[in-house]
Every structure is written in C-alpha cells, then in structure tokens.
Symmetry: C2
Subunit: 331 residues, 2 copies
C-alpha cells in the first residue's frame, strides 16, 4: 500500500460464484469443503487475479469459519446463506464457549493463506480477512440473516455484560486470526464489519467501538496495513475510523470526498470503495459513467483503493469486472 501511479483495484468477493472456474469446483465440493482444503482455497484465491488483472488477491474463506471451533455449528443452505445450528441466545452460553487458537483451530485457513501467498506473482499482495466482532456477534445471535437485528440488539441491551464478554472474545479471536494470516504471508488484512450500519451512533460507541479497536490493534501489530470496512456507516464514520484501520472502506451511500472529510487526514488514511455492486449489471456506458464518478469523487489523490461498496453479486458478468479494472488502470 505504497503510493502508486495508477489507482489500485480489487473487488470484495472477487473469488466466488460469478466465476465459471469457481462454479466448476463448487459442483464437486460444498462451500465448507472448499474452505477446508487449503490447496483448493488457494487455487480459488488466485482465479480472479488471472481473470481480471486485479492488484490484490483476497483469501478465499468465509467470515463465519471461526464458528466451527467455537462449537456454534455452521452450515450453508443453497441460496439462503449461513445457518448457525446453536445460536447464542442466553448470557450463560457466552462463558461456555471453548477457547479457540486460530493458528491451530483454523490451521487450514492459515495454510491456504501460505499456499496462496507463495503462488501469487510478487507484485500481487494477498489480503487476509476476518469478520469484525459486531458482525460475528450478529450472526452468532441471530443464527442467520436478519433484516431487523432484533435478537442481536435485544441481547446487547438486556445482557450488556455477556455482550461485552462475547465481543471481547471475538476481538481477541479475530485479532489473533488476522495476525496469523499476516505471518503466513498476507501483506494486508481486512476487517469486515458488514452489518454494523444497523446501529445508531450512540450504540456503536457504547457496544462496538472498544472491541473493533482491540481487534484492529491486534491485527495492526502484525505490521501490515489493515483495512476497516463497513456498509451503511455514513453516520458512524468518525468513530469507525477512530477505532482504527490504515484504510477505511465505505459503501456507495457516502461519496468518497464526503467520506474522506469525515474520516479526517490525521493520521493519514486511505479510502477504499465504493461502486455499487449492482452497477456491474448495468449496460456498459452506465457502468463506465459510475466508475468515472467514483474516481472523480476520489479526486485522483493517492490513497484511493478502488473497490465495490460490498461484495460482487453472483450474477455479475466477468466482462463487467474486467472492464472496470481497465478503466481504473487508466484505460
């Protein structure tokens, strides 16, 4: 993450279902099987580098993998997303969670990171990642996708001690997990707080901030740059950035110049984002217009990493992503 002549670009969920070579592998293996086999996960990690010419590879894994050693029970149903068999609904369950050592309990992820880092061309860094404490807690408590986050917030309001206990557990776990990925060769790390935008600024400050800060501190201690990403964070941005991260990732709801203003420039921050993933389904001229608008909002200043505002959708045409890479690289 040094200043570069052209704006670097990669895409969240660039290793995934929109790629035919990924779908071929998926026909033979479940999502969890692909995650569990380091050689396959490393292979998938490399697929978009070859296809798209992106400037970074993000490790193929899932943010919920730590739920397996935590004994929460993790599965993925077709089209429905993750399902947690034993969600956390009582304060008592938090203290019963077993200790997890990422280096051993998630050794297959670390091994995949090592294999991918080794196989990548030297000019393409590997990005490791983990879910942020809030986003992990929301899945652990809801047991799956939610629109209202009612169970999560109720737990937070009703059992604040157990909530902070759980968030501390997740902060230590993902902080150590990210550091282990860096030791295995990841040259940047991203903390995904995908669902944090469901919170009011006051709730973010009280219930989330210290734990994100701790996770980011542990990750940052590894010496590689850390990207702190969330969606729907327009009203949280000042605290969100204060929690840490060398790079702040935002979605399409907040124009990059506005984001930069909120995030501040001291300490110097890079900004990552923020094309709406649905723009990739638009006709080419509209897509190009939107890509150029993102670049214009970034004002050509160093420290902009071009990305989407959230993950690539499965129905995205490969050619649309290829075109974006070309435009961002100055084509």
């Amino acid at each position: 993450m040094q200043p570069t002549d052209v704006t670097p670009v990669w895409f969240m969920r660039q290793a995934g279902r929109y790629l035919p070579e990924y779908r071929t592998l998926r026909q033979k293996h479940s999502l969890l099987e692909l995650c569990h086999k380091p050689e396959l996960a490393a292979q998938i990690t490399l697929q978009p580098v070859e296809r798209l010419g992106v400037d970074a590879a993000i490790l193929f894994a899932d943010i919920l993998l730590p739920f397996e050693p935590l004994g929460l029970g993790l599965s993925f149903s077709a089209g429905e997303g993750p399902q947690i068999t034993r969600p956390i609904r009582e304060a008592g369950q938090v203290l019963d969670l077993p200790p997890v050592d990422p280096a051993t309990d998630l050794a297959y992820v670390i091994e995949a990171a090592r294999a991918a880092a080794r196989a990548l061309p030297p000019h393409v860094p590997l990005i490791g990642f983990a879910g942020a404490p809030f986003t992990l807690a929301s899945y652990a408590i809801e047991g799956g996708a939610t629109r209202t986050f009612a169970l999560t917030k109720r737990f937070m309001y009703t059992e604040p001690r157990a909530w902070h206990e759980l968030m501390q557990r997740f902060a230590e776990l993902v902080g150590g997990y990210l550091a282990a990925q860096a030791r295995a060769g990841a040259r940047a790390l991203q903390l995904f707080d995908s669902w944090v935008g469901c919170l009011s600024p006051a709730d973010y400050a009280t219930y989330v901030f210290p734990h994100s800060q701790r996770a980011l501190e542990l990750a940052g201690a590894s010496g590689v740059p850390v990207i702190h990403f969330g969606t729907d964070t327009a009203t949280l941005l000042v605290d969100f950035a204060r929690a840490g991260g060398d790079v702040i990732g935002v979605d399409w709801r907040v124009p990059l110049d506005v984001a930069w203003e909120r995030v501040g420039s001291s300490p110097a921050r890079a900004i990552q984002g923020n094309l709406d993933p649905v723009a990739l389904l638009a006709p080419r001229p509209e897509l190009e217009r939107q890509v150029r608008e993102v670049l214009a909002h970034a004002g050509g200043r160093p420290g902009h990493i071009f990305n989407l505002g959230h993950g690539v959708l499965p129905e995205t045409p490969v050619e649309a992503l290829q075109a974006v890479v070309e435009w961002v690289h100055g084509g």
Copy 2:
C-alpha cells in the same frame, strides 16, 4: 401539526400484530381481508389510540394495496412478507399497466379513512399514508423482499425510460391516493419511502427525486401537512427534504440534531423520529434512557414529532409503548 406544549407521539405500524386485539381479528381474517373491509380497518386504526394514548391514529392499510388494481397480484405469506405474483421485469410491462383511479379502485381504503376519521376523538387526527414511488417500484420489480435491490437497480440502469414512466405512474397514483385520503378526513399524510436508503445520493437525484417531489406536491395540494419518511437516508437528506414534506421522518442512524442541520430550517420543517424499534425490547431503564436521548437530541424545540425510526416489531410488549408515550408526554 400546530406547536404544542408537549411533544406529540405516534408510532409507525402502531395498528398491528403486537396488539392482542389485532391478533384476535387476524385469527378470523387474512391481512388483505382486514384491509378490504372498511369497518374492520377503521376499528383496527382506533385500537392503538385507546391502548396507548398516542396523539395521532394512522390508517390501517398496506402500502402495496395499489398493486391489486394495477394487476400485479398481491399476497402475504405467513412471516415472509408480501409476494407479487406478476412482478415487472420487462420495460413493455410498464405501458401495459391499467389506469387506476384511487377514489374508485381503492374506494375501500378511502371508506376506511372516512369511518376512522369519524370515529376518532376530535383531538386525535387521522394520518393517511401511501408508499413512495421508489419503494413501490422496488416491490413491483423484485416481487418481494430483497437485500440487494439488484433487480430494481438493474431495471433503473438498463431501462431508464421505462423506469421514469413507472415512477411517474406511481407518483400520480399515490399523490391522488393521498389527496383522496385527506378529502375523506385524514388531517395529515405520510409518504413512506422505506427502502430508498439503498441508493447512492447520485442515483437518488437522477432516478427518484423528481417523482417523490411530484407525489409530495399532489399530496400537499390537499392542504394538510405531509410527512416524508425514509430509512437509511443520512447521505440523501438534503435532496430528500428538497423533494418535499412539511415533516421529515428519519431513522435512528442519524441523530435528530444532525438531521435538523441537514434538512435546514427554511422552509421551516418539523422532524419525526427516531427511536430504534428494537429499543422497545430492552429492559425498561435502557428504553427510558434511549427515549430521553431522542428527546435531548431534539432539544425540546417545537416541531419534533416523536416516533420510531421504523415500524413497531410484532414482538413488542404493549407496556413498552405505553411507557414511551408517558415519558414523551412528560411523565
């Protein structure tokens, strides 16, 4: 909506499933049946006034009722929300939509408004409502709930003419529908743009603004105050308010003082909001703390209407809503 000594309060979806007397009626009738029978809809409209002592009644209806005369096919499955049998997926379908006259094609809603307005005590105004063009278009195109709004945005980007055609249709329809509710006795009107927060500010300006403006203009011509509500509108607020509305409704993501600053005071605007509905599931002291925080952010200035940031959740205890009304009224 004159200045008052105490902050007025009502709750979005205050007529609904959290009320035992509503659930009793629901056991005998489907949701659509309750909407179709003016005497039942009026009765449900009054239930929360008696139970909670709120300062306004909102008509019991559903924003998607106009889909029936439009021939889109509307049903509600248990727990899954609305389902549209014939969603709009092709540009050609837009021109084929039949003309709809709210006064006749939705006469049962107008009749419910008339009956409710007549039955309410004089100090409790009836609020009529309709879905905003964008939120209606998103349901019409997606065919049900969505997380990504991919079909909606793709249609918008790919078929801009048909999109604007559809939005114009919805703007005229809901504008006339709101005006008809005012003629039937509604003393305020709310336009619900519940899902508009999925858009970037640029897309809002291009694809939504003129149509919301038109709907609000038609509603405002009826002479009663109009509330313009959306969730997740932090980065849209300036344009959102410019589109119209005497009152701007915001969710818990944006503190009321920040909202007021963005919305501006010329023309004078009232603000409605913005307690997180999940706070109603919190223990009483935490709920009270959050209610007082909302009031503090409003700074006691005239023109604050206390409400939630979105609808009451079905699992909400009646007593929690009763307590909120008391606190807001100065208890």
